[in-house]
Subunit: 90 residues, 4 copies
């Protein structure tokens, strides 16, 4: 990663703390729906991290492949994006 | 579209019939949860159509951009895919 | 359905027209990404219809089950909601 | 939580390790798409934890509300499920 490296690490660090917080809630027998709300918060945080990595990928790896003119590298980048899209569509 | 044209039209036709079927269910005061089940079926069908269009896009439009060596066309194709990915991530 | 019947039918009618519009785009060989954008619009419209049906279900079928005091009906309503939740989580 | 307590804690523990692993990948400048694949794995793991909590909620909290005959508690349980459904629909 390039641009978003520090921001990504900071968010992953916070995310790790959030997951630990959910474990603590389960240990303390907190109400299921409150646990589910925290799980939703972690999912949203994860989506934010993913966005940072995708943006970095677009502005570096993909731009490099464009600049290189290397058709096989470009095809690989397209294939990866199409696979990510397929997974994201669920 | 190229390869998947007829298959896509056939599916869209069936999908239109499914939507009309849901309207009929609502008119006939059918049970809400049965209506919701049919809506889920339409959503799944829509996802199938989308897959056909994406595959066609990959094997034609994107391949053309790769073959052309036209960097601006290639960048446009990447940008479109990244936007589709962003929307699909919800 | 009760409250949202007419609104739901109006939306389903429009949705049917949107699906037909996509078929026309495919017939006219429109650009794949424009077709995908329209598919995304249909998915969003479908989600809106689903919301109306869920709200209606909540304010009628579920309220009736609560008022009845019929435990088996209530259990059935919970089970249906849990199944809908499971499907929605993808 | 009741039945799934230990299984949930075990999974959360593993999930925490997975998040830490992603941070390590970012620190080691691993390829973006490999990071994205690990993020997808964490999202899937999170969905598994969520499923355990929902099942536990269904077989305990909801069953208790049904057994109690307490209409306000039952209504609260329905409202919570409807909110979870609304969020899950995205």
């Amino acid at each position: 990663m390039h641009n978003n490296r520090e921001a990504t690490l900071k968010r992953l660090n916070r995310l790790e703390g959030q997951v630990r917080g959910i474990a603590r809630m389960v240990e303390e027998d907190r109400y299921c729906v409150d646990v589910l709300t925290q799980i939703a918060a972690v999912r949203a945080a994860l989506k934010g991290v993913e966005k940072l990595v995708i943006d970095d990928h677009a502005s570096h790896c993909i731009e490099d492949a464009l600049a290189s003119g290397d058709r096989e590298d470009q095809r690989a980048k397209f294939t990866e994006l199409l696979e990510l899209l397929d997974k994201a569509r669920g």
